[in-house]
Amino acid sequence: MTDERKMPDEKTMQDKTSINNAYAKMQSRKIAVIVVTVILLILAMIFAAASGSVYIPPSDIIAVLLNSVFPGITDSAVNENTAMILFNLRMPRILLAALAGVCLALAGAVMQALLRNPLVSPFTLGLSSAASFGAAFMIVLGPLVLGALYKSTVYLFGYTLSMNSVLMILSAFVFGWMSVSIIYMLAHSRGTSQSIIILSGVVIGYIFQAGLLAMQYISSDESLRDIVIWLMGGMWGASWQAVIILFPIALICFLLMEMRAWDLNTLSAGDDVAKNLGIDVAKFRIQGLLIVSFGASACLAFTGVIGFVGLMAPHICRMVIGNDNRYLIPCAALAGALILVVSDTLARIVLAPVELPVGIIMYLIGGVFFIYLIVKGRGAGLE
């Protein structure tokens, strides 16, 4: 019987078009999803720029933007005040939300692929706890240790900034990134299997959580309030400086991972097969974690704790676009930006003039949307 089997012959392959078509069809569908996400993100940004205590019509937004890029090309019918609100208040805030969404979703998508685990995110790997501890540490101990220096101001990028917020941001970033470096050192001496990395991350998270609790316990009422606000997370700290710092970080982290997106795909075949296919798994895993957690810590330092996007944006995208990281990474980054911009805008306007913490809106909308995808049957591959 086996002799009757027809073996395909490489040289005389007849029907190559069918596989080319199948591949082209898959890719164009993915590109379409990304294009739609980009359009949604642009619409969301215009909506966000328009809404608030002062409504700015989209036509004015476009006029102001055009005018700033090509001065004098349109006669600016928009008054100074509108331009000021747009430039100094809304745009930095929208861009900060978008950049935070990009970095956190990128971190989640890459961590999930590197560790082949759907539950990892900047949260589960202890990064958020460590960054929170860093912020609380500076809020509580900064004034005691640094004294008058803590209350002083610094001059950066042509702006006068208060020393305490600069120190808090730095401290949150350093501790956030440090948590992943500690995981690296643990894993380096004990092998880089996923379970060791994930467990180390969870345990390091708890250790920093203990430090955070201690800080809250010993803090004064005033600093406790600052800590709680930080833990809620939000775009309150938006400024052009934050955007200027975060933009290149987000861009570089994204490009570094996008360049190695195929290797992330290869990792899905398991460590052994990936090694056999020529990937230095241990090195790649650590480098990738350090890169994306750099971006995530930098964002968390400005925004405070923002959960959900890091975990869910990649999952939502995976259900729609599939698991090819070459497309999943940009899609997740864009979707992360979209989710945060929309949530932050709703948080600003739902109970205006009172501003809600962005988490309340985001966890609700995101959670309901995720359940919708599962009910619709797109979650079939989640088990």
Binding site: I19, Y23, S268, D272, V273, N276, R318, D324, R326, G381
Partner: protein, 253 residues
């Protein structure tokens, strides 16, 4: 080309799993590694695939130490197919098999990559599944997808760690027959760990019988697989039957 396995010794903790393993495999040969569970078959296959380093001993390919070959070049020489498979959901069969092209590409998929994948899918007779999601397939279909991935890698030597163990009878025979045809036609080579002595008798050119971390005997299947050898290595009484369909091992106690 030729793989020389020279005096492999390996430990797991304090347990010495490989005591002294040496053999060689030429291209054009299908070689089976036989022996009871825990005798060191998998360990040997993993060391040849450079998944880890042995305590002592080395592997040469055409006289060159394998640990000195660049990993991407090595991936074009040796294709490893594990016993248990890992995969991600939300991935199509086509995308899964494309992963085998990793040594030949960095980001973009070329027409040639797709042509090789198409060939690999046809070899495993799963071209109709190309656009299906990997998690929707049956266990047997999925296993053939992973073997197709190794074919898409186009290695000179295939190393199979009991990959047919969860296939049904029909697919076990089909897979081994197809692989043997590929090996003989392309003058590549294959080392496959097997449990079924009858498959080894019928589909492999050479067997290496391993007992307790050492090579018990190596050679043509009919010469090596004698009732005495089977009893010594597996502790099982067996009879060799020969009829017009070939030789068969009947183990009975």
């Amino acid at each position: 080309m030729k793989i020389d396995v020279m005096n492999l010794v390996h430990n797991y903790g304090r347990y010495r799993v490989l005591k002294d393993i040496s053999f060689s495999v030429d291209s054009g040969e299908v070689v089976s590694l036989l022996g009871p569970n825990g005798c060191g078959k998998s360990t040997t296959i993993k060391i040849i695939s450079s998944l880890f380093k042995p305590v002592s001993g080395k592997i040469n390919i055409d006289g060159k130490d394998i640990s000195e070959i660049d990993p991407t070049d090595r991936a074009k020489l040796i294709g490893y197919v594990p016993q248990y498979f890992t995969y991600s959901n939300f991935t199509t069969v086509l995308e899964t098999v494309l992963i085998g092209r990793t040594p030949y590409m960095s980001w973009s998929v070329t027409e040639e990559d797709l042509a090789v994948v198409d060939y690999a899918l046809r070899c495993m007779n799963i071209q109709d599944l190309a656009e299906r999601q990997i998690n929707e397939l049956s266990g047997g279909q999925r296993q053939r997808v992973f073997i197709a991935r190794a074919i898409a890698q186009k290695p000179v030597f295939y190393l199979f760690d009991e990959p047919t163990s969860s296939l049904d009878l029909r697919h076990q025979i089909d897979t081994l027959a197809t692989m043997r045809e590929i090996i003989h036609r392309d003058n590549s080579g294959m080392i496959v760990a097997l449990h079924d002595l009858n498959l080894a008798l019928r589909y492999t050119d050479k067997v290496i019988l391993i007992s307790d971390g050492e090579v018990y005997d190596a050679g043509k299947p009919a010469d090596v697989l004698t009732p005495k050898a089977i009893f010594d290595v597996y502790g099982v009484k067996a009879e060799i039957i020969e009829n017009d369909k070939g030789r068969f091992v009947l183990a009975y106690e």
